[in-house]
Symmetry: C2
Subunit: 393 residues, 2 copies
């Protein structure tokens, strides 16, 4: 980790991991330290529970079922979850603790922070001590395999203020976020049974974000996701056929054509892929062939902080309304990192997608997309790239 | 086709195919016939076009690009489309022609109809005469393959009245719809280059339906869709391992367990799949092992008309508001039919999915679903099945 960021680990009252990633000089130097204790009266999240008949039952965590028709693992809401203590509905759980308060309404022990990461409270992926990661069969039938959803969901808060957004926080903070992504990817990849780590950000009400505090998420999946499976198949076939890395050649081809390139820095290329499927789609790839965020060097991380923010800013100028104002682009920005078992096949890249078709129209995932996973685009990659170049600063 | 439905083929003014599927006795008997001419001043849809410089250019239709990273074909908006004649924005293009009018504001030549099917006017899949179905390379690069999107998109209108819905049209009309699906599947499967036919219905504003006239769609894809590819892989592996058909065994397993069965008729089973991924999901499968709708026999079609409508009705009682009223369930109902090249591997079934999580909450496809195609369910299949059995009539 860069010397400019300091990580401090603690645990929340229910036992979840919590990490401060500080870039404020007084915390980096150690002159000041973060508050570590969480005085909330939370039950240990793995504690036994009481069922409807008053019996004590073990907490078993979420499960996932194998979809025999498609080969997908589907994590599902746990049958029992400890939800004994709920914050008031209007509270912002990601706000720093109020001065002098007993921190009853949020997740953050300290009264201020830079970047924090912690395990999601109501997690759909969870490793529960004592629950073996074994396949069992629902109804005793081999077609109905299920397993604990033994992964992990973490939340990353980009800053302490509700009204801020990552896009306007500046390169230093972005750099801290990158350090946090690298750190979490590295640590989560080492947990037993984890296949891949997905750092992503959902932004905007149009894609269902209900918590407006600037934050992203980090999922550690105990399986290789269907999208990654498809990418691996293509990358392996390509390597077998040509001896080369597929994404390296795609990036080279994009650079050679130039038609869909939005911007470049010394170490990164931002482009609209030749087969873009969303109304707005950008891929951000390092020029060097690296499998994941932890493999990025100092210079690449610094450069990334710059182009990542400019990418978000360009997105926010993509759709202009008739009155001249711009649409705050709803988006999903997700990092495709090589899974643990395929570090040589996949290459790191970010995919930013948006369902915003025009200032007042969204793309809906209807029959073809939801039923057949067959995307149909209403525009062309060249038009998207042209617009993004127009608004690039 | 059953003797109770009569098909009459015609062409719209721009050359598109148009079919009446009639169940009214006077049309079935031939006593009355449908109006065939469409007097709208539409340009032939394949006619050459004039570009910005006033030059005449050939109409080439939509294309699709190969996504080298995932292996998906992505159809895209055509570079040039004939849109010389546009109906007024507030017109209902699926309404029957007005008596005595010159039919300028809609697609239907006659002043009344039962069920009609016609090629979509602004189609993202289209077979254009004279355009060879060949792969070319964008920017001359083998990584950027493109091909004409040489498929077909058809619209099916379930009845003449804007304010009606399929769910309340009755079994006779539903039976006519089934005949139309069977007819179109059979004919479209025989077009050159078509790999599979997808009959589906999008219902509700929540999934983006803007045309409220009761209608569905039929896509003939010139490729095997990603979802079907995944299903084929599983089905073929299963057959290799066991010698048996996967979906047949899944249906048998569901019947044996009974836990997720919603209803049965003599020929059909309706159940929530053991790995349901949507807030509401139902699968409707014939008890006999058939690859597609055309293979259904008389009794199976009759039975289907009954259970299909009861399935939609149950969906409309799934979510009840506090005031006692029910949510008109937004849904996608799509038929998985075996592709032309794999009639022995896939087995016919309908998948009905809804993003409605509660009376006032939708599921959004955010990071995990949109970025990684990894669905996470907030409920369990058993809870969905229990609720559907409660409201079943």
């Amino acid at each position: 980790m860069t010397a400019k960021v300091r990580k401090t680990a603690t645990k929340l009252a229910d036992g979840r991991d919590f990490f401060y990633f500080d870039d404020s000089p007084e915390y980096v130097s150690g002159e000041k330290t973060r508050r570590l204790d969480d005085p909330r009266p939370l039950t240990d999240r793995f504690a036994p529970q009481t069922d409807a008949e008053g019996n004590e039952v073990a907490f078993t965590g979420p499960i996932m079922r194998f979809d025999a028709l498609t080969g997908d693992w589907i994590p599902m809401a746990a049958h029992r979850m400890n939800r004994t203590f709920m914050p008031p509905a209007d509270a912002n759980p990601f706000a720093p603790a109020r001065e002098g308060a007993t921190y009853q309404d949020g997740e953050i022990p300290d009264t201020d922070y830079d970047v924090v990461v912690f395990e999601n409270r109501f997690s759909s992926l969870m490793q529960v001590p004592g629950v073996p990661d074994e396949v069992t069969y629902l109804n005793g039938n081999p077609l109905f395999a299920e397993r604990p959803a033994a992964g992990r969901c973490e939340v990353i808060c980009f800053g302490p203020k509700l009204e801020e957004n990552l896009v306007s926080m500046g390169e230093e903070r972005m750099r801290t976020v990158i350090e946090a992504w690298a750190d979490r990817t590295e640590e989560l990849s080492q947990l037993p049974g984890i296949e891949q780590v997905f750092c992503f950000e959902n932004h905007g009400e149009a894609i269902g974000v209900s918590l407006h505090h600037p934050h992203g998420q980090i999922y550690a999946y105990p399986f290789i996701t269907p999208y990654t499976q498809r990418m691996l198949l293509q990358a392996r076939n390509y390597r077998q056929r040509t001896g080369r890395n597929l994404l390296s050649d795609v990036v080279a081809a994009e650079l050679e054509s130039g038609e869909r390139i939005i911007a470049q820095t010394d170490h990164w290329v931002l482009y609209v892929p030749a087969a873009a499927r969303w109304p707005v789609e950008m891929h951000l790839a390092p020029k060097r062939d690296v499998p994941d965020i932890p493999s990025l060097n100092e210079e690449e991380r610094k450069d990334l902080a710059n182009i990542y923010l400019r990418m978000l800013q360009a997105g926010n100028r993509f759709h202009q309304r008739e009155d001249g104002s711009y649409v705050d682009l709803p988006y999903v920005a997700g990092w495709h990192q090589a899974p643990n078992s395929a570090k040589d096949d996949l290459r790191l890249h970010l995919q930013l997608i948006s369902i915003q078709r025009s200032p007042d129209k969204l793309k809906y995932l209807a029959g073809s997309e939801s039923g057949m996973a067959a995307w149909i685009s209403d525009t062309t990659p060249e038009k998207i790239a042209q617009r993004l170049r127009e608004v690039w600063k």
